[in-house]
Amino acid sequence: MFRIDFNKLRFLVCDDNPHMRRILRTLLHSFGAREVYESEDGATALEMYSHYVPDIVITDWSMPIFDGLELAQMIRQPESKGNPFAPIIMLTGHSEKRRVTVARDAGVTEFLAKPISAKGLYQRILNVVANPRPFIRTKTYFGPDRRRNTGNTYSGPERRVGGEVEILQQPSLLDKARTPV
């Protein structure tokens, strides 16, 4: 059994709602985290991301001006001077399947639908710490490998070519988002 030394992790939390930031701060501190930086919008979060170099980003989706999806896209710039590989956990009230797909395609590592629970958040953090996925770079995508299915029969237009398929034995982001925790 593994535990995380949260006191060695640095978090960046981005949510425009002060109550949700308070909840997240309380949960992370209770897990043992000491360094939790907070931002109420995506633009400030991006500045803080460059300045504090967090290990894990937890962001809301819906925020004014510069939302969590755009934040993820800005972090996942392969040519940027900052770290484009940091795990991003999208914590959002959006609870539709298509949103999970959009978040995944923006380079989000884990998706957690609100209402938040201590167990759900802990499991997402444990997963990004213990089971990082390789990154994939294509003409249109840079981010964690989006393949989590065990089947290798997909032959659609987005099929990658030029190599053996590596199968990652993990539940899909959608299945994980559905898990009642």
Binding site: F2, R22, F31, D55, F85, S95, Y122, I136, R160, G162
Partner: protein, 192 residues
């Protein structure tokens, strides 16, 4: 913080993509513990969250007030882009937070309102009562939460609102299959 020194990155190139692998920079924060280890960070966090619960009612009152203010702005200014965005964000925050704060029925009513804002072809053509009833219901659920026997009434109220809203949305989107599909798709949100 956990990354003392980033490991070497390996890049495998294929015809139309690259696979980039780096040694796990966070592996140092993982610690193997005995099965008998009694430390339970999740239980600790749940206890801390319970400690905050005394503030939840006042937080919900603030959130419901913000929703009403956004609605009042629409009644005054009309369905401007900014006013609609604020109404959506206020409802969306309640949808996400209310169950955590102990008001799941307010969250359900807020979700129904979010669906109206997101999927109505033209918000200006939505019956004004439909929006107003959602706002009033959320206010009432938050206000009356401490009274006995209101939980089942709140649940029924939000269920009926959702039924009326869905009926409207399905009719209004009968020629917009992509919206119909989204309206009929099940939620992925964890259950109560």
């Amino acid at each position: 913080m956990a990354k003392d020194k980033p490991g070497p990155i390996q890049i495998e190139s294929f015809a139309d993509h690259h696979v980039i692998t780096q040694p796990n920079p966070l592996r140092k924060v993982l610690r193997r513990v005995d099965q008998k280890d009694i430390d339970d960070p999740v239980a600790r966090a749940e206890k801390a969250l319970a400690g905050l619960s005394g503030e939840f009612k006042s937080w919900m009152t603030i959130e419901a007030g913000r929703l009403s203010a956004a609605h009042a702005a629409i009644l005054k200014q009309g369905f401007t882009r900014l006013a609609c965005e604020e109404l959506f964000r206020a409802a969306h925050d309640i949808k996400g937070d209310a169950a955590t704060f102990g008001f799941p029925s307010a969250g359900a009513a807020a979700e129904s309102l979010c669906r109206i804002i997101e999927h109505a072809p033209n918000l200006g053509e939505v019956p004004s009562d439909l929006i107003a009833h959602h706002i009033n219901a959320i206010q009432a659920i938050v206000r009356e939460r401490t009274k006995p026997d209101t939980i089942s009434m709140a649940h029924e109220l939000s269920r009926q609102l959702r039924g009326v809203a869905d009926e409207y949305l399905m009719l209004a989107n009968r020629d917009r299959p992509e919206h119909l599909e989204a309206i009929l798709a099940p939620s992925i949100a964890p259950g109560e």
